[in-house]
Symmetry: C2
Subunit: 451 residues, 2 copies
């Protein structure tokens, strides 16, 4: 997608094309002291971000947007409670967010809307020159992945995918270990989203969890929009919580890249069974044929010869787990069971050790520094760090730790896995969203105590 030149100049308040090719360099010498943010989407996730933003002294919340007036009111109430000025309100229709984007006084935007809006809103936001933070996953189709990349490259505006799991304390300690070569040469990874979402996908239209078997227009919160993806699509529809950390370990788009994948889905049973069990076999939803296989298994080959197994498993009874494994020539870590084996360091050959000691020893500098700030920030503190990285990157107008190429590559699992499954498991090749520059793009410097 090539932007109209005039539109580009009008919308791009900061950057020339050049910045896209030096994405890690600071643009301009000054760091903004205060960042003015607009929030698009004031659902549960948007409110999480708003609450965390209000803990900071360097953020001004200038505008909020939601098509649901009740959500706007909740957000305004929160601002008031915290002694802040009311924010400008948007949301009179689904495209009113564009008016928010026109505001000159806004530097950055956080998008926490239903998935199908992530890319269109991100594209508009980058065109408007707003430093853009988008919730996961960033894109639904391969074309959308390209839309994000192309818009970034045409406008010079940065986008950050707000993958909070990259900031989980054990995930970051293991990143520290990876960078210090504790695992040796990296070989194999496992990860995924294994989370029984049956009570998220269905509710009674009032309560978020634990009641009813409605969804879509009769549902509340995520059930209003998320569940339709399970009805209509068969693929890994939510890949980034697992894949983000692994992609970071493996320096994807920075000396490495995803090359190809194959995907396999089981039959679909869990959602139908849930409806019948909770709503009775005569409930109208019991007639629906769910397209999403209950467990979707994707295996990725990387340019550097690693493999990654990514799991999507949200319709069956099971405890939560992102199922991380990192395996190299010197050892292996598994999040499940919190266990580790490092050759030469383990007390006994061929015997697991508890990972706690290692995770403490390699605790990430960011966690050492900010663990108190992170407390209570949601999802075990990760939400503090992901917002912090976004804000600090935006204040400097530099590329974020997880940039538009990451957003595109990680999100592209969804359409590629759909095609692979539809073709009976046939191998699919990843587009190279860096246009060949992955061979020289340098790894992001994750091991630091700033952000």
């Amino acid at each position: 997608m090539v932007l109209d030149r005039r539109e580009f100049i009008r919308n791009s308040t900061l950057a020339g094309l050049g910045v896209a090719f030096f994405p890690n360099q600071s643009f301009g010498s000054s760091i903004k002291q205060k960042l003015s943010i607009g929030f698009i989407g004031m659902g549960l996730r948007g409110m999480d971000h708003l609450m965390n933003a209000l803990e900071r002294t360097d953020i001004q919340v200038k505008a909020i947007c939601d098509i649901d007036k009740e959500r706007l009111k909740l957000a305004q109430d929160l601002l008031k409670e915290e002694g802040k000025s009311p924010a400008l309100e948007f949301g009179k229709d689904e495209y009113d967010y564009r008016n928010l984007l026109e505001l000159n006084k806004i530097d950055a935007v956080i998008i926490a809307t239903p998935w199908v809006w992530h890319t269109p809103m991100s594209v508009d936001s980058m065109k408007a020159g707003k430093y853009t933070g988008v919730e996961v996953s960033a894109a639904m189709t391969t074309q959308e992945c390209w839309d994000l990349v192309n818009t970034h490259e045409a406008t010079g505006t940065h986008l950050m995918i707000l993958e909070n799991v990259n900031y989980r304390r054990d995930v970051m300690a293991v990143l520290n270990m990876v960078r210090q070569d504790v695992f040796g040469e990296l070989m194999h990874f496992r990860c995924g989203y294994q989370h029984d979402l049956r009570e998220v996908k269905f509710n009674d239209g009032v309560h978020a969890y634990g009641h009813g078997v409605e969804f879509g227009e009769k549902g509340f919160s995520e059930a209003r929009w998320r569940t339709l993806h399970s009805l209509k699509k068969n693929g890994d529809i939510y890949p980034t919580h697992g894949l983000g950390p692994v992609a970071t370990y493996a320096n994807i788009n920075r000396g490495n890249r995803f090359v190809s994948l194959t995907s396999h889905a089981t039959k679909a049973r869990g959602l139908h069974n849930h409806i019948v069990e909770k709503g009775g076999k005569d409930h109208p939803n019991a007639k629906l044929k769910w397209k999403l296989g209950d467990i979707v298994t994707t295996t990725i080959d990387t340019a550097n010869g690693e493999t990654i197994i990514v799991t999507h498993d949200t319709n069956l009874p099971r405890p939560y787990s992102l199922g991380f494994r990192v395996q190299g020539t010197k050892g292996i870590w598994e999040a499940d069971g919190k266990r580790i084996y490092i050759e030469g360091e383990a007390a006994k050959a061929h015997r697991w050790e508890d990972a706690d000691k290692c995770l403490e020893k390699y605790d990430h500098p960011l966690w050492k520094k900010f663990s108190e700030d992170a407390e209570g920030a949601g999802h075990g503190g990760m939400d503090f760090f992901v917002l912090n990285a976004f804000v600090e990157s935006a204040k400097r107008q530099i590329a974020p730790p997880m940039d538009v190429y990451d957003a595109a590559a990680w999100s592209s699992i969804t359409p590629l896995s759909e095609t692979s499954i539809a073709e009976g498991g046939q191998v699919q090749h990843f587009p190279d969203f860096t246009r060949g520059r992955w061979i020289k793009r340098r790894p992001y410097d994750w091991i630091k105590d700033t952000f």
Copy 2:
């Protein structure tokens, strides 16, 4: 492969073609009281079986075969120690086993030789009318898989694949749970062979483990032959320890079947690194290019809509694990971490429980009955059960629990994964070794206290 009719009649001492189509039915009314067995291959594994055989009162060891005279002597010494008559010796050349097979007084044969001999010897053994037990894996190529099936169908002679892990106590308890519908409708399985074999693949030609980096003609025991497979092939070269139990859970070939797979291999580093570390970078073996990717991931689709992830991981430092997972619509079990979650039975929603209580509750009738006999039988007692099933099936001349179709289907992972990897992950379709009969073949009755 169609046998010459005369050869068929000459070799087939027991069966007409009919038996192949009623494989679970007893042939003849009498149960042999004593089974005369010939052993082909007196290496470490063959000696395991011999030792366990000598614990039984219903086995007569009539003949032994090995091309290594020292191994024959070890076997004869063992017979003498146990107060048995000496066995006839074979092994003057690689084909002398055929003379063992000509012995009329032998009812059954146990084959524990290097992998490339498994199918040729099994085919010859079935042609000679001997009830055949073959160690894992049974076949190296798709044609070999067919050779086993075709020979069975042409001769009516049975073959059992001696997969001992099917008899592991937790594996059998979980089988009991599967049959009692504890997991609900089965959806997804994981399994594999994750075993650091570096000190098995290399030694000093004298000791089995822990010394030297030689293999092939300069190696001892498994290093003499097993290691070459890692040098020359890239695929899942040892799939059955994981897949045998899972195939049994899923009733593969008995109302279900493997439909297709895709496989992915990492780069090969572990064996080279091991040679350099233990033998120095100037050791001649440090120049070798190893073909086997250190971790091979295979995902299988079944006719009933389940998926199975099979892992092969033998070249890197790591604790041993077969990595079992069984997941259904009602719950999930994982061997790693010994954990289980069954909806409605778990004390807390979304929380793992220790599997011990369940494994005890569903302890398999065979283990309840034979646990004392199994003690000390090797590999935690499993070896007792696999030999017991072989002997009892052979005494009755009936199809064994793990038959020639299982041997073919499970072993076919090796050639199919090789092709998939060579083709960059392309999907491969399984031959239907049952020639369509899987739709009506009845599940084997595993839950009984006889064998």
